[in-house]
């Protein structure tokens, strides 16, 4: 399997597309900035949200039980799934029980994490993603490249080709308005004929047993309100204590995600409508383990706004698919190693630790510090290449012994001055697209000994 660096290198072959990808996501980041700066008390709002989420993590079991009891009272059936396989099986069982073989699904990163679509297709169920971006990537057999903007890696010409192939739109017409209208017509028909709708969950309220789903397109509602069966899949950490806490989180979510003051629809599902069945699946899938990792449990505070992706200078220039995991970008890089450290060992290194993610995060997750800490975990667990370990050990010796350091420094400068070809060749990744610095004759230490010897009061 290719790692982030290799996938990012491939992405960077098309320079113009990288420029476009970077600028498009930067535009979203600036919209977020504008919304945040316009909002009086933004930093206090972040702090409040962060503290509520800390409280949630410390009471997660009791809030889940409270939620379950209230949801049952409201007429919702509650399921518990330890892992992706159990979650997928629960969905399949409900489909089989009701003899349904085709369903609609609105955006749910959890189902991406669980690979639900593949599983259901394997079992003869047709899944139709109804979020426009997700429908586009589904037609193309690709995973979403961003948790809020699933098709952000594609240009309108790509979408035009895809829709021409699958929806019969006019070849070469890449007008977003025209293409969106085509999807609207196609999916309206689907909404009216599907008996089961699956949605994600943005927030679930312990004290009321209701859950909130946020969309701009209205696809979650179109699906859920027309289907006989509504299944909502939710990661354990989506719970919040009180209905009033929504006043904090709904103010943060859309502003952080796209710069909108709130999503177009913030739908509160408390009871099934007459004659409808409503199910909610509470999914662990590694979350309770992450909760036990003191350094990393804060990652569970995430509300999936995607702001860390839009701000990340690496994400913007490497694309979501280079992260080879359901949730890409900085947040994905601290979540994924918990699920599979060996497979995702490259991700915490796909960062310059610039810290922009941590400061843009609406719930104050210390993302870049966690990236640093995952690096230590990965090395300690033996997932670092041997050659790197050998080099690091040598460096450790050199840097802890001043004499060895002086000699190696001198050797480096000598080589740069008199035998640059040893360094300036294609085996040196620095030199590929950058010149090496010119080496001076003497180090500062030598200069100091020569020019400030009187003052040299060192031992």
């Amino acid at each position: 399997m290719k790692d982030h660096a290799q996938l990012a290198e491939a992405f960077n072959k098309d320079k113009e597309r990288v420029t476009w990808h970077d600028e498009t996501l930067w535009f979203v980041r600036t919209k977020r900035d504008k919304a945040a700066h316009k909002f009086a008390g933004w930093e206090q709002l972040r702090e409040t949200a962060s503290q509520i989420k800390n409280n949630v993590l410390s009471n997660l079991d009791s809030y889940l039980l409270q939620f379950e009891a209230n949801a049952i009272k409201n007429g919702i059936t509650v399921h518990w799934a330890k892992d992706a396989a159990q979650h997928n099986q629960i969905v399949l069982s409900l489909l089989q029980k009701h003899e349904i073989n085709s369903m609609v699904k609105s955006k749910s990163m959890l189902t991406e994490e669980c690979h639900l679509n593949e599983f259901l297709q394997h079992n003869g169920v047709e899944v139709i993603d109804t979020d426009l971006g997700e429908r586009i990537v589904q037609f193309r057999n690709e995973p979403p490249s961003h948790i809020v903007l699933p098709a952000i890696h594609l240009k309108k010409e790509d979408v035009s080709d895809t829709f021409h192939e699958h929806l019969g739109t006019k070849k070469g017409n890449s007008d977003p308005q025209y293409l969106t209208e085509a999807a609207r017509q196609h999916l309206r028909e689907t909404f009216l004929t599907r008996k089961l709708a699956l949605t994600g969950v943005n927030f679930a309220v312990a004290e009321t047993g209701e859950f909130v789903v946020c969309t701009n397109e209205g696809n979650a509602d179109m699906g859920a309100h027309l289907a006989n069966l509504h299944i909502a899949s939710m990661g354990l950490e989506k719970i919040i204590p009180r209905r009033e806490d929504l006043g904090i989180f709904l103010n943060l979510l859309a502003r952080s995600a796209t710069g909108q003051p709130i999503t177009t629809y913030s739908s509160h599902f408390k009871r099934p409508r007459n004659g409808q069945e409503m199910h909610i699946i509470l999914v662990d899938n590694g979350r309770s383990i992450q909760l036990g990792r003191k350094d990393f449990r804060n990652s569970l505070k995430c509300i999936r706004c995607g702001a860390c992706m839009n701000t990340c200078p690496v994400y913007r220039r490497s694309g979501g698919h280079s992260y080879h995991t359901a949730v890409a970008g900085p947040i994905g890089s601290i979540l994924a190693p918990n699920l599979d450290m060996e497979k995702n060992k490259d991700l915490p290194f796909a960062s310059t630790l610039c810290g922009s993610c941590t400061n843009v995060c609406p719930v104050k997750i210390d993302i870049h510090d966690q990236l640093y800490k995952w690096r230590q975990e990965i090395v300690k667990s033996g997932y670092s290449p041997k050659s790197k370990t050998i080099a690091m050990k040598a460096m450790s010796v050199s840097l802890s012994k001043p004499m060895v350091y002086d000699i190696s420094g001198k050797a480096l400068r000598f080589t740069l001055r008199y035998a640059p070809f040893v360094i300036n060749n294609k085996l040196n990744p620095w030199y590929k697209q950058r010149e090496m610095p010119a080496a001076p004759e003497s180090s500062f230490k030598k200069w100091y000994e020569k020019n400030r010897s009187k003052k040299n009061n060192n031992e």
């Binding site: 997660l60 177009t264 509470l282 909760l291």
Partner: protein, 202 residues
Amino acid sequence: MSSKNDILAAIAANKPDPQPLPIGLYTPESGYNLTNRFIENVTLIGGAVHQISIISEIEQFISTHFPSAIRIITNNKSLKNVGTLLLNNDLDKQIPHELENVDLTILDAPFGVAENGAIWITDELLHHRVLPFITQHLILIIKESSIVASLQQAYSMINNQDYGYGVFISGPSKTADIEQSLVIGAHGSRSLDVFITGQASY
């Protein structure tokens, strides 16, 4: 049952020490003109706002802007002349799919929120939850005096409300999934007009 017990046991073993809920860290902004802020936000998110003194102005608006609308639904009794169908319990007997050909829906809504232009509506008013989504166009009517400043105030008002389904609607349905180009009219209503009636109360 065992999955549930296993999950709860793992959480109990792994959760951090108790952390308190925050109190009074954040206070919403106040002291600004609520109507202006509300209008500013609805406009920002692609909706249009009209301040009117009498409800019949809506009838005029409909005949000018939606001359070809055939199926119109409303829950406002004074608008029954324009509405081909008045929302009532008779409608409950229909299945939601039969609303598929609704051109325009006009709904009285309980209140709006200035800081984000959102309007609250619950299923008692809708009769069919799908109505504001499946309709091609949507008009919402609120009293000017009902506009609250913040979501925090909004939730303190609905904190004890018992709804089966409630939704904050903020603008027409939209998407920017193709190259971040904003397109109004994704799967829900293609437009949102908000009518503000009456005077602000002080």
